[in-house]
């Protein structure tokens, strides 16, 4: 093995550099400012974000977390039962249905979101159907609810897959043991199935929460200007305002929050990281 490993090292180092360089760059931008005397170290970008006299940025951050929380909760509520049903299907059907869940993931997620928009638009399918049965049209687009639904739609598979993978590997004899010891089906579920799938649930929460916090496309397309999220702010700094320093600082802040979240989550998980 020694030889093969040695041969692989340069590629690995290359992949690694290639991968972390942009991260380091963001960190660099966030801590510097271009002045007349060249590049200088500064904490101004962070100070601007955590300005308690004008908490507009922190408010956006809070909103981002709040909405991501709703989306994650909804994903769990839908994703666990879906994974459970999927895992209990006969193998043939199981493959078919899991394919259907995975299929849209291969489609670019913006395209998926456009399709979704077509459903919710003022003159879209849902409203057309509502009006046909005599109900008033609803303002579905450009609301916070639309943003949450968009997130759920896009990130649900990330919740389903780890839980599904865990459920199909579940040791059936543990369920039988609970049954044997007098536990009715729902008791077996609560006392054995749930504790056994905990690592997968935490993994799913991570995988949904992270992109929900940082997304900006979903919020822009489906939320309009109703609820700007931290992702929108960051993008604006890069694209419109061209204040890379402040944008990077916000990116760093959100990364730190995410790391803290994962670490907190990971503590409960122990060894068994599912992804």
């Amino acid at each position: 093995m020694r030889g093969a490993r040695k041969a692989a090292y340069p590629y690995a180092v290359y992949a690694f550099t290639f991968f972390t360089a942009p991260l380091l760059l963001i960190l660099f931008y966030s801590l510097t400012r271009r002045g007349p005397g060249g590049v200088a170290f500064t904490l101004d970008h962070f100070a601007r974000f955590f300005d308690f006299s004008n908490p507009q940025y922190m408010k956006v951050l809070w909103n981002s977390f709040r909405i991501a929380f709703y989306a994650t909760a909804l994903c769990l509520l839908l994703g666990f039962p879906a994974a459970y049903v999927l895992a209990n299907l006969r193998p043939r059907w199981r493959n078919f249905f899991s394919m259907l869940f995975i299929l849209p993931m291969w489609m670019n997620f913006l395209l998926r979101t456009y399709a979704w928009m077509a459903l919710l638009e003022t003159n879209g399918i849902v409203n057309t159907l509502l009006q046909k049965i005599g109900l008033p049209a609803l303002q579905l687009m450009y609301t916070e609810r639309a943003v949450v639904l968009g997130m759920v739609y896009n990130f649900l598979p990330f919740m389903i897959l780890p839980i599904y993978n865990m459920l199909i590997k579940l040791d059936n004899s543990l369920l039988e043991a609970a049954d044997d010891l007098g536990a009715a089906p729902w008791q077996t579920f609560v006392r054995v199935t749930l504790p056994l799938t905990r690592p997968a649930i935490f993994s799913g929460i991570n995988m949904v929460f992270m992109p929900s916090v940082t997304t900006f496309v979903i919020s822009r397309l489906l939320g309009g200007t109703s609820t700007p999220l931290i992702g929108d702010l960051i993008e604006k700094q890069f694209k419109l305002v061209d204040d890379k320093g402040f944008g990077s600082a916000m990116a760093v802040i959100i990364m730190v929050f995410i790391l803290a979240f994962v670490a907190l989550n990971g503590r409960n998980e122990g060894e068994e990281m599912v992804f």
Binding site: E176, D179, D180, L181, G182, R191, P195
Partner: protein
């Protein structure tokens, strides 16, 4: 052990994907006995246990428990508990919580649970292990926690599915003694599944020998070993010399070209029969006392005795003796009349297969069900 039956299986049969795994089996289990289902992999013994446990429902027949029909009752409504082959301990709970699992379901008050758990851990020789995580335990310890957990709910019957299969030989022997002690101390019925005939003989009150989904023989360890009902049982339980023979008249049998006195009667004159002789029933003796003679082929040390192969004409006898015999030398053996076991010509299908692995494969498939 009383004489009343706690479990009765009536005409139980079961197929998987069209393969008959159990064919119309009847069995009565007495209250308080240690009964062992013994047979090669794929013989249906595990399926039978799982039907008693409620993890499988039979295609036909009834399962009676204490006189009540429980055929369709799910496991959690049955008054019996199972010790699973691979322990099936809950990895996210410690020893205490594992043993307490069934009691919590029953909503027993906490101080009673505490008392019961320590009583059980005492019984299985693991006092003070309450706070340990189960995954950190050794195989034998996990086994004992599984037994404690199953016994905690005070079942009338304990089902054990090859519980010692994963253990070391020496440890297995120690656990056999311990299991027997636990069964007598707790005074409940044990239904034990194994493919290890030594285990079955040393532990059981009753041995049920199975093959290909059918019960071959039911009896005490002595009776199945000393009076096997057919060649399969003879071959599966211990080693044996098997020969074809002819019953010349009552008490006189002919095999390998010679006539021997025996203790059997009631066969037709000149009826072809099957002769089974245990290797340890052949005694090395001086030439004038012997009734079998031949040339020693091999002599292998087995610990308590030597396994000696003796060629007489075309037949290769296997002899167990505490004495060494030099290969190549002549040898004389004495065979007592009551050591000659005579049985009707057996159906070849029921014999232990020449390629036991086909059975194994069948067993592997069964496990997955």
């Amino acid at each position: 052990m009383t004489n009343s039956n706690i479990i009765e299986l009536v005409n139980i049969s079961k197929s998987f994907d069209g393969d008959l795994v159990l064919g119309s089996v009847n069995l009565s289990i007495r209250d308080g006995e240690f009964i062992t289902l013994l047979g090669p992999s794929g013989c249906g013994k595990t399926t039978m246990l799982r039907i008693i446990g409620g993890f499988l429902f039979p295609d036909t027949g009834r399962v009676m428990f204490d006189g009540k029909d429980i055929t369709r009752l799910p496991p959690y409504q049955r008054q019996l508990n199972t010790v699973f082959q691979k322990y099936a301990l809950f990895p996210f709970l410690n020893v205490y919580e594992n043993v307490a699992f069934g009691l919590r379901i029953k909503k027993m008050p906490e101080e009673k649970i505490r008392a019961r758990v320590s009583e059980m851990l005492e019984l299985v020789n693991l006092p003070g292990f309450e706070k340990r995580g189960v995954t950190a335990l050794s195989g034998g310890q996990q086994q004992r926690v599984a037994i404690a957990r199953a016994l905690a709910a005070d079942p009338d019957v304990l089902l054990l599915d090859e519980p010692l299969g994963a253990l070391d030989l020496k440890l297995r022997k120690a656990m056999q003694i311990e299991l027997k002690r636990i069964q007598q101390q707790a005074d409940i019925t044990f239904v034990y599944v194994t493919h290890d005939q030594e285990e079955a003989l040393t532990m059981s009150d009753t041995v049920v020998v199975m093959n290909k989904g059918n019960i071959q023989q039911i009896g005490t360890p002595e009776s199945v070993y000393n009076e096997p009902i057919n060649a399969f049982v003879a071959d599966f339980i211990g080693e044996s010399n098997q020969l074809e023979g002819i019953m010349r008249e009552d008490y006189l049998v002919e095999f390998n070209g010679r006539r021997y006195r025996c203790v059997d009667r009631g066969f037709a004159k000149n009826e072809p029969i099957e002769v089974v002789i245990r290797p340890e029933d052949l005694t090395i003796c001086p030439p004038e006392q012997g009734n079998i003679s031949g040339i020693v082929q091999t002599c292998v040390f087995m610990g308590q005795n030597y396994a000696i192969e003796v060629l007489q004409d075309d037949y290769l006898w296997t002899v167990h003796s505490i004495y060494h015999a030099a290969p190549g030398s002549p040898i004389h053996l004495y065979l007592e009349p009551d050591a000659i076991h005579i049985m009707k010509e057996f159906d070849n299908d029921d014999a232990y297969p020449d390629d036991p692995e086909e059975e194994l494969l069948a067993g592997a498939e069964e496990e997955e069900l």
